[in-house]
């Protein structure tokens, strides 16, 4: 089983890196972009012995408590059986 976790800055938290990326895209001559926000991506291989339900709960806790900081970040967990 594999899991993917996306961590992004919360709405309302300024994202200067995203702004810089947006400017770079615009400077490159593209007007297809209205806004960019950037974040982190984690690929996780789940220990084979774990039950799916238990794995989901544990991964959710890891994403919430370790991989993201709730003060500034949101996360999204995707699990692929």
């Amino acid at each position: 089983m594999k899991a993917e976790v996306y961590v992004t800055l919360k709405r309302g938290v300024l994202d200067p890196q995203g702004k810089a990326i947006q400017h770079a895209i615009e400077a490159n001559g593209s007007d297809a972009i209205a806004a960019v926000r950037q974040g982190k991506y984690f690929e996780i291989e789940v220990a084979p012995a774990l039950e799916p339900a238990a794995a989901r709960a544990e991964l959710d806790r890891i994403a919430r408590e370790i991989l993201s900081n709730p003060v500034i970040e949101d996360y999204r967990l995707e699990i692929h059986e």
Partner: protein
């Protein structure tokens, strides 16, 4: 009375803090290894600057989960005095001892230079040797020092007087130009509501000797030493 300087893998201002405490203000001090969890005998814990564990997840995040930090949280909750400088401030926010978080500098670049700080309060264990409104020249050296918190937290920090240091210009005014990293309300350092945990991005240990261009930061350490001496006498 004894100071303890925590050493995480990747700490690199640990020796600088140790030097100021032992040599400049002449107080007893020991290093504490990140895997130690016994803080017995220490009266003030210093979380030094650096890149603990490479800051590879978020600044300060991995350090906040180390054995020593579990003890530091307990120590602080029992009223023990803690100061986190630069990476130490980031660790304190990640561990929940201080509110908010430190984001990437608005310039997106690491910034190392002297800045002006205004002392906002002098009735704390960290600032008693300063004058209120005094402007200090103290260096910063960070890539992630942009203090962020939500509006409610900000209102509480300001309302309760928890902002101890603010970035200002040479006249003492907190202007946008004098804000080196985009911090909300030019915040450079805050204390918790109980006043026993300070986090600050600037490095007072780098401005504690005239030979280095400024001794304005020494007051943080002399204030602490005086406060600890009083506490020791009282108990």
């Amino acid at each position: 009375m004894k100071f303890g300087v925590v050493v995480f893998p990747g700490s690199n201002c640990d020796h600088d803090a140790y030097h100021v405490i032992s040599k400049v203000i002449g107080q007893p001090v020991d290093f504490i290894w990140h895997r130690d969890s016994n803080l017995d005998g220490f009266d003030c814990i210093v979380l030094p600057g650096g890149f603990s564990y490479g800051d590879y997840l978020r600044t300060g995040a991995i350090a906040s989960m180390s054995p020593v930090m579990r003890s530091v949280v307990g120590f602080a909750n029992h009223g023990g005095i803690v100061i986190g400088i630069c990476n130490g401030f980031q660790i304190l926010c990640e561990s929940g001892l201080l509110p908010g978080a430190l984001l990437r500098n608005a310039s997106l670049a690491f910034a190392c230079r002297h800045v002006n700080l205004r002392v906002e309060r002098t009735d704390t264990v960290y600032t008693r040797d300063y004058e209120r409104g005094q402007v200090l020249s103290i260096p910063i050296a960070h890539g992630d020092g942009n203090y962020f918190c939500d509006d409610e937290t900000l209102a509480r920090l300001e309302g309760e007087g928890q902002v101890l240091f603010r970035y200002v210009d040479s006249k003492g005014d907190p202007t946008p130009e004098s804000n080196p990293n985009g911090s909300r309300n030019n915040i450079a350092g805050i204390v918790n509501d109980r006043g026993n945990v300070l986090g600050m991005m600037p490095h007072p240990e780098r401005a504690s000797e005239e030979a280095l261009g400024s001794a304005d930061g020494r007051g943080v350490f002399t204030s602490l030493a005086a406060a600890l001496a009083e506490l020791a006498k009282a108990s």
